[in-house]
Amino acid sequence: MRLKLVPEGTSFDFFKLSKLWLGISALMMVVALVSFFLQGLNFGIDFRGGTTIRTEASESVDVGAYRDALAVHDLGDVSITEVFDPTFEEDQHVAMIRIQAQDDGEAITGGMVEMLKQSLDAVAPGIKFVSVESVGPKVSGELIQTAVLAVALAIAAVLVYIWLRFEWQFALGAVAALVHDVVLTIGVFSELQIKFDLAIIAALLTIVGYSLNDTVVVFDRVRENLRRYKKKDLAEVLNISINETLSRTVMTSVTTLLALVSLYVLGGDVIRGFVFAMIWGVLVGTYSSVFVASTILLRLGVKRDWSKQANTTGNQFSNIDA
């Protein structure tokens, strides 16, 4: 008896509705971009400078009282949010206070933090600052640059690798899927206004890696089947390949999601945004490797006159013996 998520020997036609899928993807990307340009991202202090203070008190958080207590310091834009999490104790009440970057280039001063603590202690006795993070505007600008560069570099490196290992059409298909995943992830962060900080960039790059992992496995099978079924047309070969790898695609997505969901529920609120990005990325990445990467590959067409080549080119590593 085996648990089988995908029945054996499927033969779905993944391209029957390919225009619809491409349309949906294009639409979602447009929505993501519009959202990004209209309301922007809820950048954390890593990217726009400022200070966040995580407070912990035994009494429940009164956001209004906190705000009034801090108002006397004239800090400009201050946002206070209460944080809820199933992993907290009964008498553990956590709030995140975010203060805009102050005028000078430096991060916040120690004296300032002490003053804020005294003010808050008046409304929430025994309040603790469990973390204080402060980033000056000078660094935050550079962090954005580095982050954008990192994502761009990752995509470029992957493009080159796939181009070397496959054909340029494969590389374009894979990169289209990657861009699709990254845009949709940024879109969901913009739409839901989830805090976007450095860790999310790490998540984005992981999504790039994961989505690629999926795409490459499908493409690897496509390459193999193109050699095996020389007479069949490309759409048919692609369909066969996706169906053959479907069980694996679903299995891997499910195990990864199992791990990520447990981290999302139990891992605490500090990394929840990060894990959310990855869960979203796994879902979108799985979808895109089937419906975006392969469809693009189908549209681009593949050169198939490699019959004369030595048939080991595709699996030149296969001779490694354990």
Binding site: F129, D220, T255
Partner: protein, 553 residues
């Protein structure tokens, strides 16, 4: 077909065993940490029975490397400081002015009288009354230049002297600025390191970042402000000639002089010459002590050149006051009673014992050559770190069990084989992290959880392939063999691409992100190893023993 040489088998099991051994200490984190600390103390401070006992908590023949916990897990402070390298230019110019003055003085007949004019901090502007003597003035001042040797500026001098509308201008050359910036940052780095070491905390990270920045991470310290207090105190000690004493802080000090307050007499201001006779840089030692009245004081000693200058100055200026200046405040301004040749002296003031001890530490660690501006600072409380560890542990265990059960349900016996590999995989990640002294951060834990999910991917690829081969009517041995060899290219391509992104993350990221990149990258290496070597070996061993006619995957 399904054969693996004996030496390969031995090697594979040895690697696994080594990984397990290296990972083992992390299972007894606190105990091993105490034992390691005690062992380090024995080397540094000598044996005591207590230390020996603590060190004995962990057998010496076992590996004792631990995974470092990042700041977000252990709690501590993180600072990114920018060294204000241009601060140094001003001090250089102030130090150069007396030399320029002394060089021009004999030339008064050609250049006329001259005066230093106020200008930018990094230049000296000298107005001379006879413009026709400018050429001579330039020559004389240029003689003061020293050649510098750098890779780019061969033959360049440290200063540039030019004439601008009857004013002689001395500036540092670009090559010298670059060399000076580098020196300044290196000095600052060294001094920050020494100051933090004086306090004696565990495993601080002090790194240079880019051209003029210093990254400082100290685990276990209470707050970033505390850390700043330790490193940010400049403790700039100088000895300057006193020009006058008064109570008006806004009086005109005169060119080359400045007015600074007294440390313990409020309302009293001293006018001193800005160029110091001797600075803290020449200090070789400073110790807390007591003066002849039994009050706390600090004794100090100069190096040879400092002692000579101090000796010469005191010999020439008997009867006039000089100021001991600490961070732009006059600690005391005694009158020179006699020539002080030995190069040692004592600073007295209204110190408490603690203050004199701190002052001695600061003086000994040396002055920061330039100010630090803090661009980024983070404090993570130990409670938050502990919460994160606890949550991360539970999440990892749950994720682990979920994946184990799911694999067992999906692939039966082969799923169990994959599970053994998965457990080994986690052990190998921890083993390698301990071996390379890697740092585990909160995103790093996420990286491990992600690896748990993705590590089975390689096995899934293989098992699915074996299923296909079985369906195509191949015998068990042949199916397993083909499954492995055909899945290999997909496994390698898929993992290499993910590894590329991990490498880019590592190169571009900082702090927690880098921690994530490390666990992700290691996870990829170990999962490929376990999938194509370990599970294969387990399956082959099982197959040899059972010789099944049919298999179900």
């Amino acid at each position: 077909m399904l054969q693996i040489d004996l030496w390969k088998r031995v090697l594979i099991w040895l690697v696994c065993a080594a990984g397990l051994m290296l990972a083992l200490p992390n299972g007894f984190y606190t105990r091993v940490e105490q034992a390691n600390d005690a062992a380090a103390d024995i080397i540094a401070k000598g044996e005591t029975s207590e230390r020996l006992e603590t060190a004995g908590q962990w057998p010496a023949f076992l590996p004792s490397g631990l995974v470092n916990l990042g700041l977000d897990l252990r709690g501590g402070a993180h600072l990114l400081a920018e060294v204000q390298v241009s601060d140094v230019y001003e001090a250089r110019m102030d130090a150069l002015w007396p030399e320029v003055r002394d060089a021009l003085r004999p030339e008064r007949s050609t250049v006329g009288t001259f005066r230093r004019q106020p200008g930018k901090a990094d230049e000296i502007r000298v107005k001379i009354t006879k413009p026709e003597g400018m050429a001579r003035a330039l020559d004389v001042v240029r003689e003061l230049a020293n050649p510098i040797t750098t890779l780019t500026g061969v033959g360049a001098n440290d200063i540039e002297v030019s004439a601008e509308a009857g004013v002689l201008v001395v500036r540092l050359s670009e090559a010298e600025k670059i060399a000076s910036d580098d020196r300044t940052v290196r000095q600052a780095l060294e001094i920050v390191r020494r100051r933090i070491d004086e306090v004696g905390t565990r495993e601080p990270t002090i790194q240079r970042q880019g051209a003029d920045r210093i990254l400082i991470q100290v685990p276990g310290i209470g707050s970033a402000s505390e850390l700043k207090a330790i490193i940010g105190t400049t403790a700039q000690l100088t000895f300057n000639p006193v020009v006058g004493r008064g109570s008006d802080k806004d009086a005109a000090p005169g060119i080359g002089n400045k007015i600074i307050p007294s440390l313990d007499e409020s309302g009293i201001y001293y006018t001193i010459e800005a160029a110091a006779v001797v600075t803290g840089e020449d200090l070789v030692d400073a110790q807390p002590s007591f003066d002849q009245n039994g009050r706390p004081a600090v004794t100090f000693r100069f190096n040879t050149s400092g002692a000579r200058r101090f000796g010469d100055y005191t010999a020439e200026n008997i009867g006039s006051p000089f100021a001991i200046v600490l961070d732009d405040e006059v600690v005391s301004a005694p009158v020179i009673q006699s020539h002080i040749p030995g190069g040692s002296g004592i600073i007295t003031g209204n110190f408490s014992i603690e203050e004199s001890t701190n002052l001695a530490v600061l003086l000994r660690a040396g002055a920061l050559p330039a100010g630090l501006e803090f661009l980024e600072e983070r404090t993570i409380g130990p409670e938050l770190g502990q919460d994160s560890i606890d949550a991360g542990k539970i999440a990892t265990i749950v994720a682990f069990i979920a994946v184990l059960v799911f694999m067992g349900l999906s692939y039966g016996l082969f799923g169990l084989f994959a599970n053994v590999a998965l457990i080994l995989n986690i052990a190998l990640i921890f083993g390698m992290l301990s071996l390379i002294g890697g740092t585990l951060t909160l995103p790093g834990i996420a990286g491990i959880v992600l690896t748990v999910g993705m590590a089975v991917d390689a096995n899934v690829l293989i098992f699915e392939r074996i299923r296909e081969e079985l369906k195509a009517g191949r015998g068990p041995a042949r199916a397993i063999d083909e499954g492995y060899s055909k899945a290999l290219s997909a496994i390698l391509d898929a993992n290499i691409t993910t590894f590329i992104t991990a490498v880019i993350l590592f190169a571009m990221g900082s702090g927690p992100v880098r921690g994530f990149a490390i666990t992700l990258g290691l996870g990829i290496l170990t999962s490929v190893f376990t999938a194509i070597f370990v599970t294969r070996l387990i399956i082959v061993m099982w197959f040899e023993r059972r010789r099944p006619k049919t298999i179900e995957v």
